[in-house]
């Protein structure tokens, strides 16, 4: 598999705090990869560097032949990277359908003049956008909710809507920031299934931040671990799980005295 995204030496500093410290990372095309680490490890900061919300001080991020550093976030989504947010950030005053339509903004071409005159091409585009939005809502499991005000959706459904809005932009790479946070086990199952279907049916490469180890170990083909902004491990789930530095980052140095098998279970259970 070829690399879809390649980050080299990405560094982001806030005042005296180095939130992301020369992180190298490769995401394979068509894979499902995860970024994990304790709270404050710099995971979301790294996401923000990838999507143009932050500009990294050092390093380069190349995506599909384009350099991302210095691009605005609207240019980056146009290149094909869409994302969701840790604390859900829907357009609250808009209906479910409208949220997904805004998601398609970057793939639509109608001009204001075209909208005023309702040109045939504008009408066709609006119709297609509407159909595509309904299709996506069906895909994530929100069929029939299109007229609901987005804030009135249950919490779990709001996360699904964020994903629908993100894939409205027809991305190649989808970044999910803690998609299963705050979900009950049934909703989590649904989310895992959805992530698989995103890759298998839509062909979207998925890169996610997640704290729920069950989700991470279940769906990731590759895991990168951050701690204090530094990459401390990466590899297949089994490799990462066995890595003593990861165990230390999560549970503190004393735990290493314990037998390795027991600690592994402890990570899986605690997280």
């Amino acid at each position: 598999m070829a690399a879809l995204l390649e980050a080299k030496g990405v560094t982001k500093v806030f005042g005296g705090l180095t939130a992301v410290d020369s992180v190298d990372l490769v995401i394979e095309r068509g894979s499902i990869a995860s970024l994990i680490g304790p709270n404050g490890a710099g995971k979301t900061t790294f996401f923000n560097c990838m999507t143009g919300l932050y500009r990294p001080e050092k390093g380069s991020i190349r995506f599909d032949g384009h350099s991302l550093v210095g691009q605005r976030s609207d240019q980056i989504i146009a290149l094909g990277i869409a994302r969701t947010y840790q604390n859900i950030r829907l357009f609250k005053g808009m209906s479910v359908l409208e949220n997904v339509l805004v998601g398609q903004h970057v793939r639509m071409k109608a001009t204001p003049l075209g909208a005023v005159l309702r040109t045939p091409s504008q009408r066709a585009e609006e119709r297609q956008a509407r159909e595509f939005a309904l299709e996506l809502l069906e895909f994530v499991g929100l069929g029939g909710e299109e007229e609901t005000l987005s804030t009135n959706l249950p919490y779990g459904d709001q996360r699904l809507l964020e994903i629908a809005r993100a894939i409205g932009s027809r991305p190649q790479l989808l970044l999910l920031d803690e998609p299963a946070a705050g979900m009950n086990p049934r909703e989590t199952e649904r989310m895992i299934d959805l992530v698989h279907r995103l890759r298998d049916e839509k062909g979207i490469t998925v890169f996610l931040i997640e704290h729920d180890m069950k989700v991470v170990m279940n769906i990731s083909e590759n895991i990168t671990v951050l701690d204090y902004g530094k990459k401390i491990a990466e590899g297949k789930p089994a490799q990462v799980r066995a890595n003593p530095r990861v165990v230390e980052a999560y549970l503190g140095p004393g735990v290493l005295l314990d037998t390795s098998g027991g600690t592994e279970k402890k990570i899986a259970n605690d997280e």
């Binding site: 976030s73 805004v102 909208a115």
Partner: protein, 571 residues
Amino acid sequence: MKKGLNTGLIAFAILTYLTLIGLPTRLAGAAQPVLALLLALFIFAALRSQAKEMGRGALLQGGLVAGLMAGLLLVVEIGYFNWLLGDGVKIQPIFDKVVPLNMAALLNVRAGTILNGEVSIVAYAILTAYLGLAGLLGSLLVLFGHSSVAGAVQGARIPGGRWLTILLPFALFAFIYYLGLDGVNTFGNNKNIVRLLLVLVATGAGLFALAAAKEGLEKLIVGALLAAVLLSLPFVLNQFQNSVMNIVFIFVMMGLGLNIVVGYAGLLDLGYVAFFAIGAYVYAFVAAPFSSPYISALLTGMGISPASPLLGYWSAIPLAMITAAIGGVLLGIPVLRLRGDYLAIVTLGFGEIIRLFMLNLGDLTNGPRGLLQIAQPTLFGISPASLTTHLDAQGWIFLLAIFGSVLVAFVAIRLNDSRLGRAWVAMREDEDVAQATGIHLVQTKLLAFAIGATFAGLAGQLYAARQINIFPENFTLFVSIDALALIIVGGMGSIPGVVLGALALKGLPEVLRGVDEYRIVTFAVLLIVMMIVRPEGILPSARRRRELHSAEVATPIEDEKMGKKLEGGRA
């Protein structure tokens, strides 16, 4: 008891306000009964929500206390005014409607008695008794008429209520036509003002009728009939009524433009008058015979006589619109990164800068002396007002304002329902996420400013034609405040709301000229009341209503589901 006293205090404030704007003078002999009736309605509205908690006795007592409280305070207040007036103190410079005539109407005595300081205690007692009884009437209304009156107000709840709402404006318009017939002398001296009030109310009722009509053919028919009636108005109203209605519709055009900037895109612009001024001045530059020393010299230098208008009304439209749009972009660029309060302050400054330019660039704009004799709009070179005696100059401007409003509303509706409209709302909701969703913020914001400014420019041009002579003082901050207040009152983001807001805030003050003196106080109180009672505006857009009442909407649905579940359980 406490509730009654509180209600009485607020009622007193309202009565004071009505007195200060000179309502008693207008009502003359009917002042006491009408004010009492208004008080009764207010007390009904205030106590209505308490009906269940308070017992019958407490309710009656509350109403009586509220009425007496308001009455006593009012009597003390006007007693003091009368004492001052009787002593020959001139209070008009501050309270311009506190004149013997007004006080006399309120107390139902002759004006002379007040000047001589001979008002008997009986007159005061009668007023207090009147208002006390009104309070009692209000609480009786709560007791007996609660359900039926509330039902009637809600309209839709009673059978045929929808048709009542739809037919009401037409009935009112028919009455307006009737009042305009020769020889009809209903309302005597007040006929013209009552007719204007009816036109405002009927136009507003038309909006509700349109909202009540069912989607499809019914809405189309009601809309077409209303449009026909509206278009006939300039031909049947007199000069004064037309001049009020055309300023209302000029403000509709402006409000619709500001609605795009504030309502859709969420950019609080307090300097909106700048674009209105740009539109007006651009038209004046090209259409006033002597526009300014500089331009006149320039034209003479080019061998063109400055005495004849350079461009006609129609050919000047693109120029006014483009110049205003450029102004919008020029304002937009420096404020791109500002949000909320900061944006409001900077735009406020911009509005003042444009006005100060007009005032101080004397060579270009003729300064405070203004630009005079601006050419009137014509139709193929002839003035329609000269063709028929039914259409005066103000009526012709009114007609143009209606067409302008329809055009602007059409563009606003189409844009709102498009990719750009969604981008504006998304930007208003969350700017960072909107950008990360692919919305080009710079472009989207500048488009909002430019399109909003274009509409204001169009309105400004028509305003210049209406005024014939324009001066920098026509374009103060208060124009911006008027435009903003009308969209807040009408309902942010709602097009019928803008029309209703313009009718209420630009039209009604003309009926009660006294309101003008207290415009700022009135707006302040009105806005506070709106924020408490109906934050989404009188005729809100569907989106806004959902937003502000999402909790209330959600509850009944839940209840319904619960109900079904319970029923299912029983079965």
